[in-house]
């Protein structure tokens, strides 16, 4: 029996909008496209230069891939080991089958401390489960402390990138949000990035000093030692992981790695792929509770929410190797044009197109596996070599199978083409019929086909079929090779 997918109607995995509809909206926003082009261009160049200086990059990628594959293979054993190690160092481990259960556990833990607010480190897992909404419903104010998350939260907006959730905003839009939403902000705020960063520093400092509960995600959980790892830049993570009395960490079960030594691979792969730096400014590592240093109460919530359903797909499971660097977003020609909101999920871009449909079940995100040109750039930059194009094609096939007995026009055409291609004579005949398409062309292009083929030409132009096919040309010029 296949494990259940993530429940509908809770969390940030699907907003119910199809990719083509949402993409059409995004493509009409020229400011958004300008912001995205500038930002992804910057980060692509930075990543390429710091990756080029690592002579053993390909060996590191291969090691990263196999460490993750090995961890998935040994998942039950490793999770039990992680649980044991965390518990032996004074932490408490909780298990959550889905988003609702995880949010419930966290809300109860916060309520038990008596806190009415929490500070949060940027975390994909807590966005996925819709934790902020659950906390607010229980009367607890969640304060996002990562600069980009703060911009999103203050702008009553949605994240659009894994690493830089406010990538769709430029500096002057950010200044306007701060002026509107930040109590006591300097009314003469300029839009220089260092001035905006300073405003965030002042806004959050008091909150950090007074917070009693923090909530984080985790980049890695080391089974061998029970060590949790959070990789960040601003120091908001360190504030949350160090100053409050209670720390609650929500971690997807796929984040476990077998040994401490494995961190030597990921601490090289992640920063260079993510922010294009040799090393990110801050990486925090802690094991349970450390006497006299940091939170004296630590809870770890292990989250399924569709991950075991993903694991059950032998092709699709490699998506669970993702370390959330977001390099694939920055190189994707589709993402660069539509932005992250078009994907309708907290996981946008190429990785989102293969992860979201598996977590939710393909019937709830049917258009996402098609939100790609299959150009393969995502695979080339992936630090753990996830073959995203292969999984996209696999999920498209799963979608076609799941769509039931009435085949789509695309399935009919593909089926007919497959039939024709099995037999040289049939293929030659099909090509001669196709040549009739020349009658519809103007200047070498076909702009409109009759229904049902109009579905294809409504969004793309088609080159006119050639006067001669290659096979005809070959037969004329190589009569001796005829077979």
């Amino acid at each position: 029996m296949t494990p259940p997918t993530a429940p509908a109607g809770v969390g940030g995995l699907s907003n119910g909008m199809s990719f083509p509809d949402a993409a059409r909206l995004a493509l009409g926003d020229t400011q958004l496209r300008r912001n995205l082009r500038a930002a992804t261009g910057t980060i692509r160049a930075k990543r390429a230069s710091v990756v080029a200086e690592v002579e053993d990059w390909e060996e590191l990628r291969e090691a990263g891939r196999q460490i993750k594959a090995s961890a998935m293979n040994r998942l039950p054993e490793l999770l039990e080991q992680l649980e044991r190690e965390v518990a032996s160092r004074g932490g408490v481990v909780h298990w959550a089958r889905d988003a609702t259960e995880a949010s419930g556990i966290v809300t109860e833990l916060v309520t038990a401390t008596g806190a009415r607010s929490v500070v949060k480190v940027k975390s994909m897992a807590t966005q996925e489960i819709g934790l902020n909404e659950a906390l607010e419903a229980a009367g607890i104010a969640p304060y996002e402390t990562d600069l980009a998350e703060l911009i999103v939260q203050l702008g009553h907006d949605f994240p659009s990138h894994i690493l830089v959730p406010a990538i769709h905003r430029n500096r002057s839009e950010i200044r306007d949000i701060f002026l509107r939403e930040m109590p006591g902000v300097d009314p003469h705020l300029t839009d220089e990035p260092h001035v905006l960063a300073e405003a965030a520093r002042l806004h959050l400092r008091r909150r950090f000093l007074e917070a009693t509960v923090a909530i984080s995600g985790a980049n890695f959980g080391v089974a061998e030692t029970g060590t949790l790892v959070v990789v960040e830049s601003e120091g908001n993570g360190r504030m949350c992981l160090t100053l409050p009395e209670t720390l609650i960490t929500v971690m997807g079960i796929e984040k476990v790695v077998p040994t401490w030594g494995d961190m030597e691979v990921f601490l090289q792969l992640l920063p260079r792929s993510s922010t294009g730096e040799r090393m990110n400014p801050y990486t925090s590592m802690w094991t349970g509770v450390t006497a006299g240093d940091g939170p004296q109460a630590f809870h770890l919530v292990l989250l399924d929410n569709g991950r075991t359903a993903t694991l059950a797909d032998e092709v699709g499971r490699e998506v669970l190797h993702c370390i959330r660097c977001s390099a694939c977003l920055n190189v994707c020609p589709v993402y660069e044009r539509t932005g992250g909101h078009a994907y309708g999920s907290v996981y946008p871009g190429p990785i989102g197109a293969v992860l979201t449909p598996q977590l939710t079940g393909i019937e709830r995100s049917p258009s996402l596996p098609f939100a790609s040109t299959l150009c393969g750039a995502c695979y080339e930059v992936c630090p753990v070599k996830i073959d995203i194009p292969r999984v996209l094609v696999h999920l498209r096939a799963r979608h076609v199978e799941a769509s039931g007995p009435v085949p789509s026009p695309e399935a009919v055409v593909m089926g007919a083409t497959a039939w024709a291609m099995r037999e040289p004579r049939r293929w030659g005949l099909l090509q001669r019929i196709t040549r009739l398409g020349r009658l519809l062309s103007r200047g070498g292009w076909i702009r409109r086909l009759p229904p049902p083929l109009s579905a294809w030409t409504s969004s793309r132009d088609l080159t006119a079929p050639p006067r001669h096919t290659f096979r005809e040309w070959w037969a004329e010029n190589h009569p001796q090779d005829d077979r």
């Binding site: 930002a39 196999q66 594959a69 090995s70 600069l147 990035p193 029970g226 691979v265 094991t287």
Partner: protein
């Protein structure tokens, strides 16, 4: 709670099926550098990478270290916090109030200090990284977080070349922080800006071994 645990583990086992063997992990990447810790090439590389993050870098000898610390702290620093077992000689020439950390100091109190001086567990040359592991000369994590200036004293022999060499030398059961330059963000148009929540200034003081042939 028990039920969720058993159910998630059961789902994983059924998803994986039986009989699959975990793959061998190829470790063909560089697991050791070509230079011994403290080699002059590594010290130069650490300097280059540190400056690239727009952090400060100063060289000193054991004899000149107290002057170097005092000079880096400079005029504007009124209160300096130090971990309980920092070598007091290092701060002997500092002309500011010294606050010795102990766990009873609240975050709000630490926030009133201007600078912190610490040792480190080791430094990684290739990535320009300082590693603090909470030893008594490095202090608890909050001490190096709230002051706006972090002065970190690194012995030449503590400088390793690569990340794998660092990982092999560290004890993960200690609470650790890897620090690479000052606090920074790339959240505005993906341009790096130094200085958000952590110390906005980081200065590395590298202590070189004394050359026995050279009188100080």
């Amino acid at each position: 709670m028990r039920a969720a645990r058993e159910e998630v583990l059961g789902r994983i086992r059924s998803a994986l099926g039986s009989g699959s063997v975990p793959p061998e992990i190829p470790r063909a990447y560089r697991r050791r550098g070509v230079h011994e810790p403290g080699a002059p090439t590594l010290l130069d590389l650490l300097e280059e990478r540190t400056l690239d993050y727009r952090a400060g870098f100063v060289r000193a000898t054991p004899a000149s270290l107290p002057d170097a610390v005092a000079a880096v702290l400079g005029e504007g620093v009124a209160r300096v916090v130090i971990p309980p077992e920092l070598d007091r000689g290092w701060v002997s020439k500092v002309d500011a109030e010294l606050v010795v950390d102990d766990p009873s100091l609240t975050p709000a109190t630490l926030d009133t200090t201007d600078a912190v001086v610490t040792a480190c567990a080791l430094a990684i040359a290739e990535t320009g990284t300082l590693v603090l592991d909470g030893s008594a000369d490095q202090g608890r994590r909050a001490v190096t977080l709230l002051p706006d200036l972090h002065v970190c004293v690194v012995g030449a022999g503590q400088v390793v070349g690569t990340v794998p060499e660092a990982v092999a030398r560290l004890d993960p059961r200690r609470a650790m922080t890897f620090i690479s330059g000052p606090s920074a963000t790339s959240d505005i148009e993906l341009n790096r800006v130094e200085g958000v929540h952590g110390p906005r200034r980081v200065v590395v003081i590298l202590v070189l071994p004394v050359d026995p042939d050279q009188p100080e």
